[in-house]
Amino acid sequence: MTANWHSEQYDGIHVHILPTEKYKMVTALATWQCTLAEDTVTAYSVLPHVLLRGTKRHPSPEGLMRAFDDLYGASIGGRAVKQGDAQTIEFSLQCANESHLPEAKGLFAEAFSLFAEVLFQPHLLEGAFDPKAVQTEKMLHKQRIENVVNDKIAYAADRCTQLMCENLPYGIPRNGYAQRVDEITPASLYEDYRHLVQTHDLHLYIVGNVDAHVLSTSVMQVLKDFRSETFAKSVADMRTVPFNRVNRAEPKVIVERLDVNQGKLNMGLSTNASYASEDYPALLVYNGVLGGFPHSKLFTNVREKASLAYYASSRLEGLKGIIFIQSGIQIENFDQAQGIIVEQLEALRSGMISDDELQFTRDGLINQYLLSDDQPLTGAMLQMYGRLSGRSRTVPELLDSIASVTKEDVVRVAQGVKLDTVYFLRDQEGETHA
């Protein structure tokens, strides 16, 4: 549990290494954080895909992937992620530990060097990205944005978020906008890339059976070799602003129609707490009692007692301090399901929380955090939340603070919870066509 990170910094590069014999793979994560903004979200979402299309040494995508394959299938992934009010550009690397492959000495060093190539030595033509690669990735990205509707559960969750956070950064779609894809050119995207690399801090995490001192020196050297200019330190404040409630007399209710068999009922709740606040552990417990587990009020009342749904749960977006509820129901049962959910919010507000509900939830959360300690990148994620919220928390601190949450704490949080947005995705039935 006592994670012994070995950290080093050079200009805007931060290298964090966690040596452990627990895993048979070595995992690396490189992440840049930038502000989530309408003008930049689309290009930054396309960028990781373009960087994976080739490097100076391996200019074709299949050539690049073959180079990774040759290293016992070292795998690289790249994506842009919405994290609170920030957008992170992340690349991950997973590589078999050479101690299990006697014929593969120096495997991670080679894989890391190739990984750094993807980040810092992209394939360029006339000082910009390869136009063909950009063209293909633009087309794929447009389709990616349009295809969000194909997964109705994810689509309904996205719509609810966008409607609740209209005109706020958090309401920006994670992949950006289809119409903004057209504006991207090989030159403009390369400018965006240089801006990202030159003015944003890079955090690099490596977890696995490695020698921290040796690796940290060699990794830093690889990064220095690749850089063409100084990596400046970030100046922008990337901290997420907790959701500021709009004072609505009644929740905003939006019904949208598609040809679906099942209705999707989603709700957004504003709260008085978030990752940075003292009440965060109580907020975690509140969300757990409401809908985080099979013993929670939503699962028990919407599914087990009323047989209305297969899934009915809630999810806490900690950085923003928003709780989202999601359920799939028969379309005619909208009023009944909504009524039961609102009753659960009321019950929590009036302190109807049994000792079992409280205990099961605290123990369930503690179990989740302990389980997360078996994942190599948990520590990296917590450090990132720390940077994004301005308040750092470690697993041991979270365990202690969750264990000491009382019923009074949960009720205090419950009284600050307000139903803000109701989103219902339903069929076309009863809709009059002109």
Partner: protein, 428 residues
């Protein structure tokens, strides 16, 4: 306990078959915090015809009953099993496949007690007319959820094209109509037939000593007085030789067509080892020809036939085998035709030896990543063991594999008349 050492992956497995027939596996992972246990019966959605022990006639039960039973096991006379696990801070779940049903938990505390809860609730059916009726509304919504899911619908369409009316092509959850026919008597019959310890496997992985787990499980089982059960008589109809339909199409509210296609295996190798080798060879072939290191993968994208999610997989059991390939596509028929002819060419001309060596090395490295996931090891080992395959020997198979093995596997698999296509299109 019998000790099996797997030097190639650096793991040791302990196993014992108990007096009542239950097979126990324990794998110790001292550095991990969690214990993960899964308790699996060799009984899934394809087992709709069988002889109940003590009876003589073949019993037929409604589609979706194995999955229905899986849901219903969580309810007991004293209440919900979720709450019993929650008392220990443990997470529980279950899943049903074509040929197995698995109950599981993961936990970091009070592990032996949770292990008792797991074994006890799976071995203690409690069905009433009322609790069976209540579940129907819940499962109906689960089925509706899948009806709106293009990924699931296109997969189901391909199974129907390949296997027609065979139980392999029926939905694991059944249909809303079929589940409404299920009675508590049906459920008791299924439980009595398939949940005997002799038809079950318990896999426990975590930091505890294997002997402590064994002792605990032996004591738990001894107290229950199970008698050995004769082999189960299953009325599994023969799998049709050829696909029943070359093309199946449906429509959904989607933005772009989605397709899956593949070859149905003509003959399934009879032993587990042969199947394991064939499966590993086919996976290498598919990765070499269609994976991200293959030129074709990018050509399909450039020709507007596929997107980055295009992929291929192979599955082989004692009953059936097939490839499944595809993804989103603006021209699904063209995509299927293009990939089919590429595989036919490869079957005729053989793989490029360099591509083979590269993908083989990749398969070796990628397999090691399974060892970092307790849940992955337990689930995959159990599923494959029930199909007669020891998955922890995979690296030994891979290391000796030759390009000839792969070419042979491809040649026997790629047959023009074994090809089927499924397409889900946007509503017009």
């Amino acid at each position: 306990m019998r000790e099996i050492r797997y030097d190639s992956v650096g793991e040791t497995l302990y196993t014992e078959v108990l007096d009542n027939g239950l097979t126990l596996y324990v794998l110790q992972k001292p550095d991990f915090r969690q214990t993960y246990a899964c308790f699996t019966t060799k009984y899934g959605s394809i087992d709709n015809d069988f002889v109940v022990p003590g009876q003589s006639a073949v019993r037929h039960v409604p589609d979706g009953i194995a999955h229905f039973l899986e849901h219903k096991m969580f309810e007991e006379e004293h209440g919900d099993i979720f709450l019993d696990f929650a008392k220990n801070g443990a997470q529980t779940n279950a899943f049903t496949t074509f040929d197995s049903t698995t109950y599981l938990f993961s936990s970091t505390d009070k592990v032996l007690d949770s292990l008792s809860i797991l074994i006890d609730f799976v071995q203690r059916p409690y069905f009433t007319d009322e609790n069976v009726e209540k579940e129907k509304g819940i499962i109906a919504q689960e089925i509706r959820m899948y009806e709106d899911n293009p990924f699931w619908q296109v997969f189901k369409g391909l199974l129907q094209g390949m296997y027609g009316q065979h139980p392999l092509a029926t939905d694991i959850a059944g249909t809303v109509e079929s589940i409404y026919q299920i009675t508590k008597e049906d459920l008791y019959d299924c439980h009595r037939t398939f949940y005997h310890p002799g038809n079950m496997v318990l896999f426990v992985i975590g930091p505890m000593e294997p002997d402590v787990i064994l002792e605990h499980v032996v004591a738990n089982q001894a107290a229950k007085g199970y008698q050995p059960q004769p082999p189960i008589v299953r009325g599994f109809p023969p799998v049709p030789k050829h696909p029943s339909q070359a093309l199946r199409e449906s429509r959904l509210a989607v933005s772009q067509p989605r397709t899956m296609f593949g070859f149905k295996e003509t003959a399934v190798p009879v032993t587990g080892q042969l199947r394991q080798r064939h499966e590993a060879a086919m996976e290498i072939a598919l990765d070499a020809l269609l994976g991200r290191g293959a030129q074709l993968y990018y050509a399909l994208i450039d020709e507007d036939l596929a997107d980055a999610g295009f992929g291929a997989s192979y599955e082989l059991t004692e009953y059936y085998g097939h490839t499944m390939m595809g993804g989103n596509s603006n021209h699904p028929e063209k995509l299927a035709e293009r990939v089919k002819s590429a595989l036919q060419d490869a079957a005729k001309n053989g793989l490029d030896p360099t591509d083979f060596e590269r993908t083989k090395r990749k398969a070796i490295g990628r397999f090691l990543s399974l060892m970092d996931s307790p849940q992955g090891i337990a689930n995959v080992y159990t599923q494959q063991m029930l199909r007669g395959i020891d998955v922890l020997t995979t690296l030994d198979f891979l290391r000796v594999m030759t390009v000839q093995d792969v070419n042979q596997a491809l040649q026997s698999h790629v047959r023009n008349d074994q090809f089927a296509v499924s397409i889900v299109r946007p509503q017009s």
